[in-house]
């Protein structure tokens, strides 16, 4: 019943050399199987490092996985399931793992004490960015990222359960079984690719048989229940509010496969049972970081589960009885005052020296300083663990656990099997499960005497990966960094990729000893998600490249593509920006043509993206009066009106026209960008401010395909489309009229006399199902007039020529007065924003005002974003007179025109100023003019 399948050999390479492992191996066990000792270089002193652990706590064996032309850095060799063709490389050693130049730092270590960089590199000033920092940055970092897109794909999912059991060891298996048997919806998440946890390493008997058999029987029963779901290779990395857990399932370690490499699950649980086990901690003693020095539990795991020998002459240095089951030749028992005081063997352990003077040959030293329960998930909501003197470890604080979380097994300090099953039974009772009488198991005991650090002159390593020694911690205290949070930041203890899994508790014990405080008084630093690192790609899931955000297409999108449109992002919409024709060089050629054709004959533009809100109810008119500055109550049916909407702070929020179709039916138009915000604002007014009103809202933005038909021939064109029984002549259908009509032989439609371009214009709308057909009919009908499609660019030119404010002006900083729309504000009625719009700062007479600009020298180009400075003034902030907000080249006038905000602009017509544009290095003189450049009196509109 071996967990290694020897008749499935798997080939892999490490640093270019090829080796063999078996199905069931991890990369780490396979390296040990092939006697590979040196696997990495430490971060600061580049000391040679070997495999230390057997799970996610591993601080040393970090490798790069290479495939598909990309590489995955900082992967723990201990958690990579070996697959055929795996190509791994060591990190942080240059030119090679064996010969690393930066190992020189190890010899310079007296001068590279903790925090040295805060005390130097300050002279000469420019050297920091030029010399010192680049050198530090090149030496820093571990693995590398190749600058190519991540070829893997990831999914995201949502799971719901009554009970989430976290951890597939003995405690988790039994708890899942008890819950499953009473029909609870159970999810059991296990981060390893085999269930069993501690049972895979320790020689424990259950029902007098090897405990792995018990585990496999439980697994079989769990798999037979359809109310239980086992998530393999799934790490629950974070506990969030209200029973939500974040979990990452690894489907495969192979890069670039066809399916999802990983699935990021959000698990909604009514209750959770943390059975995450515990992590063994080492002991700090001189040169305790040589390859071959490992955690005792890891040595057992390689011996039992992976059937490989981490060493021939194995010594065991332990302060507790649990480690004694590790196969070893020599025991150094800290409880009997035996310590290791030094070790030899730079790239592989050769021998160890004890405090009684003995020098023992050993190629592997198993170390155990006791066990730290994996309390992380209990502390993700600011709970702090509680010190237990007898068990010499921090336990979860049961008074401040996340809601409905229970902790069982070693994660709760239950280190013996009888304690494990007792904790499962108690928790099962509390949750109404059916706890079977726990299976008989041998009578384990756990005695530990706290023993953290063998004091001595030579360096004793605490944080293997960040190279933090015991001396660094005492030095930090000496320099006044005595809080555990200060020590962490000043020494970088516990800030590496293993987040101090094996070093934090030792570090704070050494700090407590130095400060004279107790361990509980010293306390722990904050546990933060994720429990183990999660790829940024997994958090992004499928939302990348074109699927980062949805794409919204207009009803005429297909036709626009066929007509050679260039598209532009407008929020999530893709709108046609211009329609390039044969022979046109740049976008200006196309845009000028579109403007000239529209103003000269007729042009058509898709305006479906503007927000459309259907407003119905007896109090619809009164409601609009509350949200718009001008009055709508008296607007007659079949009429439209321009409306300006303020935020409650008096600043302009959005504008648009509203059409009244009957006493109780209006259709409001909003800008494309603010459609969502306005709808939310109206629902707030309706439900929270004026709930007594009978008014109902629903969006019809996507229900209607709406096209603007503008230009002198607009009416002639539309008369070929609108069925004859509907008279759309100027007399019968004047400016700002609206109506329900039919087109093309009876198809339902709506028509409005609205114009943003300033031309004679209608907007015609049909249900979107007919949108594609209508645009083709309209363009066909317009051929005799030389009709063209015009895009957002041409629309922009025309609305600027007319002086209409748009998004650039409605930028959330301007009032009705600033926009020159003060006249619209009805004096009589209240509306949202009315009171606060009268504050002194908003109505000051020198406030900014929207005005028009032309270049003094007509051949000059006006640039958007320039600031105005009075001629003769210094070009400094205190002399700033305002800024240019919209600019366009007017084909009709033959020069650039601009809109902008100018201090007391209303009474500065004719003034000349500097428009300074440092960023484009383009400063020109401009003259203040009326913002209505073309057809200032609006005759065309009413033609």
């Amino acid at each position: 019943m071996s967990l290694i399948n020897k008749n499935i050999p798997l080939s892999f390479t490490f640093d270019g050399k090829s080796y063999f492992g078996f199905e069931g191996d991890t990369l780490a066990s396979a390296l040990i199987r092939n006697k590979v000792r040196l696997v990495g270089r430490s971060f600061k002193y580049h000391r040679p490092r070997g495999i230390m652990g057997a799970g996610s706590e591993e601080p040393n064996a970090l490798v790069e996985i290479h495939a598909d032309g990309v590489c995955e850095p900082n992967r723990r060799a201990t958690t990579i399931k070996l697959f055929d063709g795996l190509s791994a490389k060591s990190q942080n050693g240059s030119p090679s793992l064996g010969f690393d130049v930066l190992a020189i730092n190890d010899w310079l270590s007296p001068f590279l004490s903790t925090g040295f960089y805060y005390k130097t590199f300050m002279w000469p000033k420019a050297f920091w960015e030029k010399v010192y920092e680049p050198a530090i940055r090149r030496a820093a970092g571990l693995g590398k990222i190749i600058q190519k897109p991540d070829p893997d794909s990831y999914d995201k999912g949502f799971l719901h359960c009554d009970v989430l059991v976290i951890g597939g060891g003995p405690a988790g298996l039994q708890a899942a079984l008890d819950a499953g048997r009473v029909g609870k919806r159970v999810i059991l998440a296990n981060d390893d690719f085999v269930l069993g946890g501690r049972l895979l390493s320790d020689p424990i008997l259950i029902n007098d048989k090897p405990s792995i058999e018990w585990a496999q029987n439980v697994e079989a029963e769990l798999r037979s229940m359809d109310n239980v779901r086992i998530l393999e290779r799934t790490t629950v990395y974070g506990a969030y509010d209200h029973g939500i857990f974040g979990a990452l399932e690894t489907k495969t370690d192979e890069i670039g496969g066809s399916g999802a490499r990983m699935v990021l699950w959000k698990i909604y649980s009514k209750a959770s049972i943390l059975a995450a086990g515990a992590t063994e901690r080492p002991i700090a003693f001189a040169n305790n970081d040589r390859p071959g020095i490992m955690l005792a539990s890891a040595v057992r795991t390689y011996q039992k589960r992976f059937e490989v020998d981490p060493g021939v002459n194995i010594a065991l240095f332990s302060n507790n009885n649990n480690a004694l089951s590790t196969l070893h030749k020599v025991l150094i028992d800290a409880r009997e005052n035996e310590f290791v005081i030094d070790t030899q063997g730079r790239k592989s352990l050769k021998s160890i020296r004890l405090n009684d003077g003995r020098n023992i040959k050993a190629d592997c030293l198993a170390v155990s300083g006791g066990w730290n329960p994996n309390v992380h998930l209990t502390c993700h909501q600011r709970s702090r663990p509680v010190w237990d003197e007898k068990k010499s470890c921090f336990l979860p604080n049961i008074n401040s656990l996340p809601k409905n979380m229970h902790v069982i097994g070693a994660a709760n300090g239950n280190f013996t099997m009888s304690e494990v099953f007792e904790s499962v039974r108690l928790t099962g009772k509390a949750l109404g499960h059916k706890p079977a009488d726990s299976p008989p198991t041998d009578s384990e005991t756990y005695e530990v005497t706290a023993f953290w650090h063998v004091k001595g002159k030579k360096r004793a390593w605490v944080d293997y990966q960040n190279d933090v020694t015991a001396k660094d911690i005492t030095l930090a205290h000496q320099e006044g960094f005595s809080s555990v949070e200060h020590v962490k930041r000043y020494t970088t203890l516990g800030m590496a990729t293993d987040q101090g899994r094996t070093s934090n508790v030792i570090g704070l014990a050494i700090l407590a000893d130095a400060t004279g405080q107790t361990i509980p008084e010293t306390g722990t630093t904050i546990f933060r998600p994720p429990f183990t690192p999660v790829p940024i790609g997994a958090f992004a899931g499928p939302h990348k490249e074109q699927h980062f955000k949805p794409t919204r297409l207009t009803p005429s999108h297909k036709y626009a593509e066929e007509s050679g449109a260039t598209f532009v992002e407008t929020g999530y919409w893709k709108r046609s920006q211009w329609f390039a024709k044969e022979g046109e060089q740049g976008w200006r050629d196309s845009v000028d043509r579109e403007v000239i054709t529209t103003r000269g004959s007729v042009g058509i533009c898709d305006v479906s993206t503007l927000g459309k809100i259907d407003i119905q109810g007896k109090d619809a008119g009164a409601f609009l009066n509350k949200v718009y500055v001008n009055s709508f109550k008296l607007l007659k049916p079949s009429k439209c009106r321009y409306g300006l909407m303020l935020r409650e702070d008096g600043i302009a929020m959005d504008d648009g026209t509203s059409a009244r179709f009957s006493d109780t039916h209006y259709v409001m138009t909003t800008t494309t960008a603010n459609a969502g915000t306005v709808f939310r604002h109206l629902e707030f007014a309706r439900q929270c401010l004026f709930p007594e009103m009978d008014v109902h809202l629903i969006s019809t933005t996507e229900q209607w395909a709406q096209y603007s038909v503008a230009g002198p021939n607009a009416r002639k064109l539309l008369q070929k489309i609108v069925d004859p029984e509907h008279d759309i002549s100027n007399e019968a259908f004047p400016y700002m009229a609206c109506g329900q009509v039919t087109v093309c032989g009876g198809t339902r439609a709506r028509i409005f006399r609205l114009s943003f371009s300033g031309e004679l214009a209608y907007e015609i709308a049909v249900p979107t199902r007919y949108g594609d057909a209508l645009i083709r009919k309209l363009m066909n009908a317009g051929e005799e007039f030389g009709v063209c499609m015009y895009g957002t660019e041409a629309l922009g030119v025309m609305r600027i020529e007319k002086g209409h404010a748009a998004g650039n002006e409605l930028n959330g900083q301007t009032t009705a007065g600033h926009l020159g729309l003060g006249g619209f504000v009805s004096k009589k009625k209240d509306c949202i924003g009315k009171v606060l719009s009268q504050r002194e700062g908003l109505i000051a007479d020198d406030a900014l005002r929207l005005v028009g600009f032309v270049a003094v020298d007509p051949s000059d180009q006006i640039t958007n974003g320039a600031h105005f400075i009075n001629i003769g003034d210094d070009r400094i902030a205190t002399n700033d007179q305002g800024y240019m907000s919209s600019v366009a080249y007017s084909p009709e006038l033959g020069h650039y025109v601009g809109l902008g905000f100018l201090k007391s602009g209303a009474n500065r017509k004719g003034d000349e100023l500097w428009a300074v544009d440092f960023v484009r290095n383009h400063h020109i003189k401009v003259r203040v003019v009326s913002p209505h450049f073309v057809d200032p009196d609006g005759e065309r509109l009413r033609g």
Partner: protein, 92 residues
């Protein structure tokens, strides 16, 4: 977070949009002499307590209802959820 919608039951908070303190429901009387100060306090000043807080959430990706949620800003525990409309005693 999870908001237990009075009509639809528990829903992930990512379906909602947060506005702010429920005091925004009590728009001052624009005709009172102290309207300027009342609107200033209404619009700009907040208790912003570290503890229980009545706040407004909009179920944008759900039934488009405005909810008043009573939530502890230190622990995020939610103790009460009511429909904003019915909190004004209008409809059940």
């Amino acid at each position: 977070m999870i908001i237990n919608h009075p009509l639809l039951g528990p829903r992930d908070a990512s379906e909602f949009v947060y506005l702010g303190d429920a005091s925004l429901m009590n728009r001052p009387n624009p005709k009172s002499e102290t309207a300027a100060e009342d609107f200033h306090a209404y619009m700009y000043l907040r208790d912003n307590p570290p503890g229980e807080h009545r706040e407004l959430w909009f179920h944008e990706q759900g039934d488009r209802s405005w909810l008043i949620v009573t939530r502890n800003t230190l622990t995020h525990e939610i103790t009460k959820v009511e429909l904003a409309r019915s909190s004004k005693g209008l409809i059940t």
